[in-house]
């Protein structure tokens, strides 16, 4: 297939740009989304787009992939100007986009997903299944992906696998330019490394890649150049070789961040949560742990190691089948989120979009959703109190929104996450379980949330934080627990929690086994 012929194209700065974006302007009713954005991507280059949520990255992508039309400016592919009016136009021009929320059809199989819309046909309007499967296999081989089969039902695949399916779909369109929006947001460390392998292979083929991410470390790991946007405006481009974190962060947020992980030591008090041999099949196999007031416990582990499952068992979503949970020393039975809430447990779920926040609801109603009990007298909601609570929340978490009646879905990821957090803090929980609290949100918001965690710890809240981002775990935790295959396999104090040790424990290296708690 064509992609392979292109493999000859040598990756290099000298080559003419594959994609060139010139002076893009876009205005939505009331909002100036983009102004004067220009950048280009050369064959075999990874060009990172950096910027806080709401900086305009997504809008820019949507313009390049033909979802929106720019008010002004031009897009050149391979040196010739193109007008992308529909996603199809972009595809034909060789531009493929991998969106943050993967657009796959769970009912369909890998091959069908890859070729949806342009399946190889035998005769008129007849899909040639054999050819389709073969093609799919060829693509898989070409990227040396051996743990996927064209016949698998996408519904049962992991996020990492699904993403690779999306990449394959892009390649099946002979894409020369690949846009990746937050590709690692939902990936485990392992999946990230796999993804990077794929990206490097694509580079070798001369595919130009536009790479959006918040994780600066990734940008330094994979990108050749980086362009920074802020508030819809072009801030500047740098060669990754000659820039550094501090500079980029500064360009992004327009100010200097004192520290990414403002961990302050809070006095650690009595145990709030004590769990003994919790069992909930299939993924919680006898877990015992303790979280004290004022303590931030980091829970590390690969996706599928049972971290979220454990959290949801503690929260009563999937009640434990055996084992004991003690709160403040008293043994309790948590059989539903309601009881968990009344017992002072709060859980900020992993997936903001589908678990944390009702996108269609106003900020006001999202804030009060988990606290309705405390806001109502004999079933009737005290609307004044509700409004007050939401206003306080917005202020306290500095949520950027026009008003509390704004529809939550319209806010940026970071602000949405703050609402999810705020909605639970409204109950003044004694135990706060955070599942990936900063996934896919920008550096600024991230820092604010971290600061907030410390503040809460200082107020004596016990915090259990699940995170796939090792630096975050190491930076924020007083203690780090490592989970693997449904069991706690290691425990580290802040002092001796090094990324090597923790990483090894996550992967199942021997070093951890000896220290296993």
């Amino acid at each position: 297939m064509r992609a392979e012929e292109e493999a000859q194209v040598s990756p290099g700065r000298t080559a003419a740009p594959l994609l060139e974006v010139r002076g893009i302007e876009k205005t939505f009713p009331g909002v100036r989304a983009l102004s004067g954005i220009s950048f280009d991507v050369r064959p075999g280059e990874v060009h990172a787009l950096l910027g806080e949520n709401g900086a305009g990255k997504s809008t820019l992508i949507k313009i390049i992939s033909g979802v929106y039309q720019p008010d002004a400016g031009s897009i050149l592919v391979g040196g010739t100007e193109v007008h992308l009016v529909t996603p199809d136009d972009a595809r034909r021009a060789g531009v493929a986009t991998i969106y943050q929320e993967l657009l796959l059809f769970p009912e369909l199989r890998v091959a069908e997903n890859i070729f949806l819309g342009h399946a190889p046909q035998a005769g008129v309007g007849r899909i040639d299944w054999r050819a389709m499967r073969a093609e799919a296999q060829r693509l898989l081989d070409s990227l040396e992906i051996d743990d996927l089969s064209p016949d698998q039902i996408v519904g049962v695949l992991t996020v990492g696998h699904r993403q690779r399916v999306e990449i394959l779909r892009a390649l099946s369109h002979n894409a020369r330019i690949l846009i990746m929006d937050e590709p690692t947001a939902a990936l485990t460390e392992a999946d990230v490394t796999r993804l990077f392998d794929v990206v490097r292979r694509l580079k070798q083929r001369g595919v130009g890649i536009v790479y959006i991410s918040h994780r600066l470390d990734e940008i330094f790991a994979i990108a050749d150049r980086v362009t920074v946007l802020r508030d819809g405006a072009y801030v500047g481009s740098r060669d990754v070789a000659d820039t550094n974190v501090v500079e980029l962060v500064q360009m992004m947020v327009g100010r200097r961040l004192e520290s990414l992980f403002p961990k302050t030591v809070a006095p650690i008090g009595a145990p709030v949560l004590e769990a003994r041999d919790l069992v909930r099949r299939p993924l919680t196999k006898g877990v015992s742990l303790t979280v004290r007031s004022g303590e931030i416990v980091g829970l590390a582990g690969l996706v599928g190691s049972g971290r979220s499952e454990l959290a949801q068992t503690l929260f009563g979503m999937t009640p434990s089948e055996s084992g004991e949970i003690r709160l403040h020393g008293k043994s309790v039975r948590i059989d539903s989120p309601e009881t968990a809430r009344t017992k002072g447990i709060a859980y900020v779920p992993e997936d903001r979009g589908t678990q944390g926040l009702v996108r269609g609801m106003s900020v006001l109603h999202n804030f009060s959703l988990a606290a309705l009990g405390s806001l109502s007298r004999s079933g009737f909601i005290d609307r004044a109190a509700e409004r007050r609570m939401a206003r306080d929340g917005v202020a306290r978490f500095s949520v950027k929104t026009s008003s509390v009646d704004e529809v939550a879905g319209r806010l940026s990821g970071g602000n949405q996450q703050k609402i999810v957090l705020g909605k639970w803090l409204a109950n003044n929980p004694r135990l706060l379980i955070l599942d990936e609290p900063t996934r896919g949100i920008d550096v600024g918001a991230k820092a604010e949330i971290h600061r907030l965690m410390c503040q809460l710890a200082a107020e004596g809240v016990a915090i259990l934080m699940i995170s796939s981002e090792l630096p975050e775990v190491l930076g924020m935790s007083d203690r780090v627990l490592v989970m693997r295959e449904g069991r706690l396999v290691a425990e580290f104090d802040r002092a001796d929690a090094t990324s090597e040790a923790v990483g090894a424990a996550m992967m199942g290296g021997t070093s951890s086994e000896e220290r296993a708690a």
Binding site: H365, I381, V407
Partner: protein, 323 residues
Amino acid sequence: MSATIETRAFRAPRWLKRHETLLAIILLIALVGLGLLNDRFLTLDNLLNQGRLMTEIGLIALPMTFVIITGGIDLSVGAIVGLCAIMLGYSWKTFGFPLPLAIAFALFVGGLAGFVNGLVITRVKVPPLIMTIATLALYRGLAEGVSQAHSVRGYPEWFYFLGQGSVFGVPTQLLLLVLLTVVAGVVLDRTTFGRALYAIGANETVARFSALPVDRVKLIVYTLSGLASALAACVLVSRVTTTRMDMGAGYELDVIAAVVLGGTSIFGGSGTIWGTVIGLAMIQLLKNGLALTGVKGDATIVVIGVALILSVLIASSLERRRD
């Protein structure tokens, strides 16, 4: 109903306000128009009488609004009306229950029927539409089986007060409907229960993660739907003075029409009692007004169909122009 006007404060306030005010305007125009064409239409007498005639549908439309807001649907209501009418008559005639007890029994059965719907929907996770299509057949069948197709007549005079009597000139059942409408409106608007309905309809997972008792709420909603159908059955029996197993046949579509016409999204997450009431009144008064103006029944049905599509079309297209 000033209380329920607030209800729209939920979700995209202006949108719903527009939709309902718009419907209200369309309704008003229709009323005035028909009123000009026919002097017997806009008389208190006629309007009150229409209120009497639309009560059964109205009673069921209230909980149906709840059900649809949670993203569900209940097609078995008509069948439950039939079943409860039978239970009322049968327990009174055959078991020799005193009538008040028989009424209570009918209400119980109705609640039970709804509860069963809710139970299977929440526990076995059968989609509401499928479940209630199946129970639509089942409940109607039970009504026939129990009654052996017999109809029960000759209820005591006092019972007819509910369906034919009136208080200060206002039909009894209309008062009942108004009362329950206000209650439903307030519940939907002001209570945590009402808020839970919207949350469940908008995004059930989030509702669960927000520690809302999703399954319990759904169970209650379907039980209410059954209960209301039972109440409607009692009103109907009292109005027509007899009991037959085929009572309430086809109610489900009338009810759903009123609710969706009232701007409740069939996909869940939004809707108001206020809108449902407008939708209900619109259909009933349109039918009546046209009949009085000399339009035949069959033609009237056509007009209703067009009205249903057009008003939703107009309302939502204006809404789209806004944003």
